[in-house]
Symmetry: C2
Subunit: 438 residues, 2 copies
């Protein structure tokens, strides 16, 4: 048989693999790989200096001891590590307890679905809610790329809502709804990152949270709330939108990647909405998410759940008891970055140059505004000539946006790297401003 | 604010959550829950009697020692458990080595994507390949529900190809392709479970494997090969279709759930097809699957990969060295089930009654054919009156099929349970045959 090979053209593959954001992420990876000596403000990785290899054994052992103490049989304990588990998750009760302790979110364990990080939780929620071709998902602009990517995987229509300096505004969401409805589409849900958003660093005010709930109720939208940075930030925390929610209007999406450790990939969705079927039988939205999950990942690894459960048990069930040290670390690195920016661009200088930045109250990210195009060509010059890497803000606009923004991640660098990195960044910015023909 | 709650009707959710197979699986779960004393031939679970809780610590320690022995820094070793990992996976080299040792599949590590079990691997492959509205996925009938479910999640069109007693036939696949093309659709891939298929138990002959490759080449189809039971079966193994493949025609989908343990949820896709983009740059299909995975689960848990790697390292890199005991166990339970069936339905009796079954050479499943409707009502009578549970074969037909088949899973029961269970099953079958008005 002398058949041709089964090789492929990318145009013949699903459009999601050719998404601009996918290619731009590749570009960023290439740059990072090529300029290994550069200081990188690009990756939004958790700081790992506090991890200790022996912890993993302690966590798993702690969970096994807990099962034994509550009287589980040896066969059950063995299966809690080695066997398939329930699709909805085996540590839902512990997660429900931690949500009550940490967030004043009081939901039954059955309304929780344990997922592969927040990413799978987003995917499940979108798949369940975006049912028809006219259904639209509203996204802030700029926005976390994971939700935009998940929508594209499913061919779900999106509509971008400009994010203001204090986050998504209810009025803007209401206007977007009206525009979509006028175009014959049906807005079903709005995604929001209320605390120290990725990528902007912006936090919604209490008033903005209440406004969003009201607009969502008025237009019968669900709110997909994703807030990975709030429990690793110091200072006063505003209530989650789910905590304020009295109508089961919010599907709250969570993760232990930033609070415990990313290598377990354990997240969850809180979906306590009542769903009624054609025969009048009722269940929870969580039950529907479980069905979808069974066709995607079957169940979250028992081993991962055991490790996270062990960590929760060690801390008395409160995530906030686990994150004191890391929250202080992130607060210091954000503060250090802001101080360095103040030093390299004093008030009069930044005004003259047209450079500015926001001052996030926590989280991993801040936005630097510059008077030149912060595009891939600029990034390449920054990496090659100045040894500093950052992320173009334009990567994060779901439907396009201006390219005068830079995302700086402050979570992963040491104070010395921040100091040197911000100096290099200042030199790069000055050189771009001086650049002829920009 | 006195807004209505955000509760939902199931018709407003995506159609995948109302799939018949989802409701039928719920029915099966309910039955199993309600009749706890019944002997169940329903779950296709791996036998867990050989697991030992302390193994998990040994496996993880083994992997950490391996990293230390090859000279990784303490920070790198720590991150190999706790941090995010590469989206494609961190143990691709070990998996590539085991594929060479166990299966004579020789592919570069970069062509492998480590996934959340085989389920995510199927999802990634379907999402990448099924690009346009006219693209069709060919499925055997009956078929594993995971692939049908994944196709429905994505709204991908499917076409069922009748599975014969020796598996999928090339001629039937060719006929299905022609029928689809005539209807204006584009068949892109065919899914197949060549060894001891779930649900039927059927194994494709060597000839049938070669035929399928030839038909796939002729019609430019990719073959999605999923074979979870072959390395946990004794006796002579035919080569995988990927082993026979000279044209990169096969995307091979694998899992360590049956061979090592399910609680890690580690599987993989082998996607060594070359993909060329519009600018003429080439990469592998694996790279495209990685992009999709980044929007689905980000990466397979580092912790899970560490545990599986530890098991592979302990066995000298061969999965087959890990599965000797379990393969013998499954061989015994399959043999015991077949012997019991022979005893309760001797040749003359089975001919008179119109009862028959196939004799799988391995795996977890066999098909019992009965002369009455083996539907949910029959299952309810079987559970309530005879204390025995099984799965209606009708659950597994992607586009409908006859309802005179019963799937028996033999993997999870003890010899005593099999003996008692088959006796009860025989009584149930005889009572159904005598049942007035059937």
């Amino acid at each position: 048989m002398n058949s041709p090979t089964a090789d492929l053209n990318r145009e013949d593959l699903h459009a999601s693999v050719s998404l601009p954001v996918m290619d731009t992420m590749n570009f960023l990876n290439e740059i990072t790989h090529r300029y290994r000596e550069a200081i990188s403000f690009a990756p939004g990785r958790p700081y790992d200096g506090f991890f200790d290899v022996e912890q993993i054994f302690t966590y798993i052992r702690r969970y096994l001891d807990h099962l034994a103490a509550r009287g589980d049989s040896p066969a059950h304990i063995r299966d809690a590590i080695f066997q398939y588990g329930p699709t909805g998750g085996q540590i839902r009760d512990l997660i429900a307890a931690s949500l009550r302790e940490d967030e004043n979110i009081d939901v039954p364990a059955e309304s929780i679905v344990v997922t592969l990080g927040c990413q799978e939780a987003m995917f499940l929620a979108i798949r369940a809610l975006m049912a028809g071709r006219d259904d639209v998902l509203l996204l802030p602009s700029p926005c976390y790329v994971g939700i935009t990517g998940a929508a594209h995987l499913l061919g779900v229509q999106i509509a971008a809502v400009h994010e203001r300096e204090d986050g998504l505004s209810g009025d803007d969401v209401a206007a977007a709804v009206q525009e979509q409805v006028a175009a014959g589409r049906r807005p079903r849900a709005v995604y929001v990152n209320p605390d120290h958003a990725n990528p902007s660093g912006v936090t919604m005010s209490l008033r903005a949270r209440r406004d969003l709930l009201e607009v969502a109720a008025r237009h019968d939208l669900l709110i997909l709330e994703d807030s990975p940075y709030r429990l690793v930030s110091t200072g006063r925390r505003l209530p989650t939108i789910k905590t304020l929610d009295r109508d089961r209007r919010v599907v709250h999406l969570g993760s232990f990647s930033k609070t415990v450790f990313p290598g377990a990939r354990v997240g969850f969705a809180v979906a306590d909405q009542v769903v009624t079927d054609a025969r009048g039988r009722t269940g929870l939205l969580a039950d529907e998410l479980v069905k979808i999950k069974s066709m995607l990942t079957v169940n979250t690894p028992s081993l991962s759940q055991a490790a996270i459960a062990g960590a929760l048990l060690e801390s008395g069930g409160r995530v906030t008891d686990l994150t004191e040290k890391t929250a202080a670390y992130y607060s210091d690195t954000m503060r250090a970055t802001l101080d360095c920016l103040d030093r390299v661009f004093p008030l009069d200088v930044r005004e003259r140059l047209g450079v500015s930045w926001n001052v996030p109250s926590g989280g991993f990210f801040l936005t630097l505004r510059v008077p030149f195009r912060a595009d891939e060509a600029a990034l390449a010059r920054s990496a090659e000539e100045y040894g500093v890497i950052w992320t173009p803000m334009s990567y994060f606009y779901p439907q396009g946006g201006d390219d005068h923004g830079i995302r700086l991640s402050t979570s992963y660098l040491s104070p010395a790297e921040i100091e040197a990195g911000v100096s290099r960044l200042a030199e790069f910015v000055r050189s771009e401003i001086r650049r002829p023909g920009r």
